[in-house]
C-alpha cells in the first residue's frame, strides 16, 4: 500500500473515529437531557366560613300588639358579616322555636319568621330565612329581620327576646 493510500485510509479512519465519538457523546448527552428530575410542591387550603354577628337588632310592636318584629316601628334589623374562602358554603337564618324571654303564654299560637338580604360577594334577597343561599367567595354583609306573630290573641306587656341562628353550612 502506498503512503498516499495509507494517509488517506488513516484520515478516513480518524474522521470515522471522531464522528463515532461525537455520535456517542451526543447520544449520551441526549440520554442525559431526557432524564429530568421533578420537585413536587403541594399545598392545602381548607374551606372556611366565619359568621360574625355585628349587632343584635331590636323588636318593635305592632299597633294591635299581635306582632313583634324588627320591621315594626321601634324595631331594628340585625347585621352579620360572613366571610368564606370558597364557594362551597351556603347560608340560612333559622327562626327560633320559642321565646327565650317572654311572659307566660307568649309562645302559644305564635309563629316565628325570618328574612335576610345579602350584599358584597353574594347578592340575595330571601323572604324565607329557612332557604339556603349559596355564598360566593369573599365577604358578604347580611341584614336580618325577624318576627313573632300571634295567629290568635295578642302579646301581653313584658320583656321579650328570642334567638335566631345565622347558619353557614356546607350542604
Amino acid at each position: 500500500m502506498s503512503n498516499k493510500t495509507n494517509k488517506s485510509v488513516c484520515a478516513k479512519l480518524s474522521l470515522f473515529s471522531i464522528s463515532a465519538a461525537m455520535v456517542a457523546v451526543m447520544a449520551q448527552s441526549a440520554h442525559a437531557v431526557d432524564v429530568d428530575g421533578q420537585a413536587v410542591f403541594s399545598g392545602l387550603i381548607l374551606d372556611s366560613c366565619t359568621v360574625n354577628v355585628l349587632n343584635p337588632g331590636l323588636l318593635g310592636v305592632a299597633t294591635d300588639q299581635a306582632k313583634l318584629s324588627s320591621e315594626e316601628i321601634g324595631g331594628a334589623p340585625a347585621a352579620a358579616a360572613i366571610v368564606t374562602n370558597s364557594n362551597n358554603s351556603s347560608v340560612q337564618v333559622l327562626p327560633p322555636l320559642a321565646f327565650e324571654t317572654a311572659p307566660v303564654g307568649s309562645d302559644v299560637n305564635t309563629v316565628f319568621t325570618t328574612k335576610y338580604n345579602l350584599s358584597g360577594s353574594t347578592t340575595a334577597d330571601e323572604p324565607d330565612g329557612n332557604n339556603l343561599t349559596p355564598l360566593g367567595l369573599g365577604a358578604s354583609a347580611m341584614v336580618v329581620n325577624a318576627a313573632a306573630e300571634k295567629t290568635e290573641g295578642t302579646y301581653n306587656g313584658g320583656q321579650y327576646s328570642f334567638v335566631t341562628t345565622v347558619r353557614c353550612v356546607t350542604p
Binding site: N55, G75, A141, T165, V166, R167
Partner: protein, 135 residues
C-alpha cells in the same frame, strides 16, 4: 337602593376592620371524607372564636336530616374561648346499622354577648363530615 347599598358596605367595612378574613375561621375543615374499618369513625375539627372578646362556644352534631345523632360522642359540647382562641374538637360517630356510608354535620355556634334588648342572634358554622366503612 343606593342608601341601602352604602349602609351594607359600611357594615361590611366595619366588620372587616375587626375581622381578619385570612385567619378567621370558626370550623376547620368545613368538609372531609373519612374511612373506617369499624362501626364508628372519628372526626377532628378546629373551632375558633372570631370575636375580640371571650365567648361561649356550643358544639352540636346533627344527622343528615338535622336531628340529633344517637350514639355520637363529642369531646366538647361547650367551651369558653378567649378572643381569637382555637380549640380542637373530636367526635366519634356511629354508622347506621346495616349501612356503609353516612354523613353528619358538626356545628359550632356562638351567641355573642350583647347589650341590646329584644331579638338576639347567634352565628353558627356547620361542616359536613362523611365516611365510608371498609370491611
Amino acid at each position: 337602593m343606593i342608601k341601602r347599598f352604602s349602609r351594607s358596605m359600611a357594615v361590611l367595612g366595619s366588620a372587616l376592620a375587626t375581622l381578619s378574613p385570612a385567619c378567621a375561621q370558626t370550623v376547620s375543615p368545613m368538609e372531609k371524607i373519612h374511612t373506617s374499618f369499624t362501626d364508628k369513625y372519628v372526626v377532628q375539627i378546629t373551632i375558633r372564636n372570631p370575636y375580640a372578646n371571650g365567648q361561649l362556644s356550643e358544639i352540636e352534631i346533627y344527622s343528615e336530616d338535622w336531628r340529633p345523632v344517637r350514639g355520637a360522642v363529642l369531646s366538647h359540647k361547650s367551651a369558653y374561648l378567649g378572643g381569637g382562641e382555637n380549640l380542637q374538637v373530636t367526635a366519634l360517630v356511629p354508622f347506621h346499622p346495616g349501612r356503609k356510608t353516612r354523613y353528619v354535620y358538626i356545628c359550632h355556634a356562638i351567641t355573642p354577648k350583647s347589650g341590646g334588648r329584644g331579638a338576639a342572634y347567634r352565628g353558627e358554622v356547620c361542616g359536613k363530615y362523611s365516611a365510608i366503612q371498609l370491611s
